[in-house]
Point group: D2
Chain length 274, copies 4
């Protein structure tokens, strides 16, 4: 695509302008420098270049380095208690809009802005979801990172707002790549293989999944429904092969609801059915 190429060449140009000398080795320290650049950049083109660089470098880190990266970045971007204290005192003396705006901005810190800017990277949203997946594991060991995770969650709630999701019926006409992911994601009433899944797509069953428009072919949450005659007495009843062709169902059972993305844990959409 012509314009795509232009944008990429601008991004490439932006990248060349980066003062960091990449000596072939990407590592934690360059990553942190880039992160500071991202927060202070001007102009979308160089922003895209930096965000791309960060996402590519991050992926090469060890688990240990990822932990250090989150800790360092949190330290740099979190709200500055001393500055907020000063501004609070100023505001208490002088309640006006400008001071309020500054206070609100200080109180938020820079973590959200960092995440928002990272979203400009190619496949930025998918990258951020997997980044939070990492973070959630690390939070278990280092609870000081909980606030960073709160900021991820805050933005994801905005981006994965029900208004942005698309509900799609999953059938045997769905592409195999999506069906394979569903098999992998179903943790409660496990699906052994494609044949096992096929049974759950038959005419007396319904299978729906929510998708986000920029996370191609990645189901976010899915819901399984069985039409039966009377209430099924057990899950085995529901997932056993179809026996009766003449379906006279009078009952719809929602028998399984799964959140697929660890990186979207407790983001609103899952609460829909609670």
């Amino acid at each position: 695509m012509f314009l795509k190429k232009i944008i990429n060449s601008i991004a490439d140009a932006g990248k060349d302008l980066l003062t960091k000398a990449f000596t072939g080795q990407r590592n934690l320290s360059t990553l942190l420098e880039l992160s500071e650049d991202l927060i202070s950049y001007k102009g979308v083109a160089s922003g895209i270049a930096i965000a791309r660089e960060i996402s590519e470098t991050y992926k090469t880190l060890s688990v240990e380095d990822k932990k250090k990266f989150f800790q360092e970045i949190d330290k740099k971007l979190k709200p500055n208690m001393d500055l907020i204290e000063q501004k609070s005192i100023e505001f208490a003396k002088n309640k006006n809009k400008e001071t309020l705006k500054e206070l609100a901005s200080l109180a938020e810190g820079n973590r959200q802005e960092f995440i928002r800017r990272m979203n400009m990277a190619p496949n930025g949203t998918a990258f951020l979801v997997s980044m939070r997946e990492d973070l959630l594991k690390i939070v278990l060991e280092d609870s000081t990172l909980k606030d960073l995770d709160e900021d991820f969650k805050h933005l994801f709630r905005s981006w994965f707002n029900p208004g942005f999701l698309k509900l799609e019926k999953i059938t045997w006409d769905t592409k195999a790549a999506i069906l394979e992911r569903i098999i992998k994601y179903e943790k409660v009433h496990k699906i052994k293989n494609m044949d096992d899944l096929k049974r759950r797509l038959e005419e007396d069953r319904r299978f729906f999944a929510y998708f986000h428009p920029v996370l191609n072919d990645e189901p976010l949450i899915f819901v399984q429904v069985a039409f039966t005659q009377g209430l099924a007495t057990s899950i085995q009843d529901i997932i056993k092969p179809k026996t009766d062709d003449k379906l006279k169902a009078d009952t719809a059972t929602f028998y399984s609801i799964s959140n697929c993305q660890q990186g979207l844990t407790s983001v609103t959409l899952g609460n829909f059915f609670n």
Copy 2:
């Protein structure tokens, strides 16, 4: 769609639960009550019902009532200076995370949350873009509403982040409904009619538009490019009918860039080419 129906019926049920007695007449006061409900609701289902009700009622208002609506809602949802003052003093005495969180939340106020929740309405994003279009006109008369607009802008920057937009080539194979909108939106180098537009889609021209996945068929911004031999000396040169079949272009001119949506004024994407 089966699940769609379920969701709608839940939403309808939620609606029935609303304590407001609609006496057939929707008006400003019910709208304000609904807006308070939206901020305080629990559960997605009733949230969707209320947001839908608000969007439908809002559309029936006169310009004068819209103005009053914005003023009232701003009054109710804007940051509360007195509470922030108290919390500021508290924070200055006791710098801890909990107090900070409360301070940040008070400093933001409830306007953003209101807008985020409105996005759950069917076609909520399109509705909010047109709502801001109204607001921008009203701000010219009542500058106190500028902060409300800032909150719209803040959220739109997050939602219309370059990472969420799709770039598409506009050609003579594009659906007429989109081409018609482009004719309407091009304000600088006006397009008289379909034939006039067709010339801009020929092989020595390129036409690209950005779309947001939930604003179907609504171009957000478009860019027009001409391939010419040497620099064109005037815009007339560029938009005149093609004369020479054997194209030996050596120059690409970006001759027109248009922001289509008034409701997205000064949201980042337009700055890309600045």
Copy 3:
């Protein structure tokens, strides 16, 4: 596409094997030689190469040369009266299946097989439809070519069998390239421009077209329907702008049916509505 390339390279190889020396100039005599080759070739690959060569050469001919081409080819491919006479006498003496098969084959001649093989050229079907369009004009001057046209018609009836056509609703969401063709093809109740067409696509109108899967974006026939209150008294009544928003239609009028392709004149599909 990988396999496409292989096929093309096979076709190219086939082309190189052609014994005709193309001295840069394609003309009637090479075309006739190619046509004989096409009838006698073995193997699909060289067949595709020859058919492609014929279609490209044919397009460069003058009207006069096209006429000569049809006359020459008809002479070569038409049933041979003398051979049929011999075979008839043989059959009358000896009524068996083998003789019958030979007789039937001789009685059909080679014109249909030629047309069938031409269909292997890239976009062969579209080419053949436009070839018949030429032929139909030439038949008016030279009625001896009527039988050749009968063979075209026979095959087209088989290929444009109602079972192969797809009915599609034409709306304002249809691509402009198709709408433009419809404006051009409507000869009875002329459509002035896109705006004029748009009126015929509004909610109190219906517009359907038949397409053949290998003739991309080429409507074959279209049907226009008006929903009105009571029978319209004139065509002006039907094509005038919509006046009444609250549609209480009780009458559906099929007010225009058009065959789009001259090259498909009197092929069955048009008779559907007779």
Copy 4:
């Protein structure tokens, strides 16, 4: 679809006009009467109704009755030797175009026209392909039906002409319903299950299938290609799991070509690769 409904209601009306009294039981004799009607009908609408009725009735027949049906229909529709003899003598006396046309028509008989008209039934082409599948088995027992099969083959060659087929790349993004059929159709180098198939779709493999536009999701023929370093020494080499990530292939092996449809046996497309 509005027009679809009209067509169906016309077809239904046509059906009501059928003089056959269906006493709830469809059988061989009504089928034969319908077949005669199909040959003699006027007008597309009643033709569609009759063809639909025939296809539905045929499917209910036992193998034995199908055999009788083919025998009876062949008897009625095959070329009439006595009439051809008369016409042959007439032609030998009087070699003119009219007599030739009549002779050719008699020599062809009515079987092809019957098949052509059957194609108007809903999913007529798919029905005819499965009908020929039945016929091919029956021909093994009754070789007098070979000529009927020749007529099927003649028409299928015209309809499944390479010019009408679409080549598509099969990948893990192909719908599961198609992949399942491919597993079933691969008879030479069997595919155990979806995982086994997935290996053949990886980046060092290519998989292509031909489709006909009216046989939805039904592969007609498929071709499998392996990219390897040097020639593989055995098929096991080719279908074993991928071991080496850094692919330096220098050889493309077409290791499997399958015709999927029994009903299309020896129709040209399969010969492409011969």
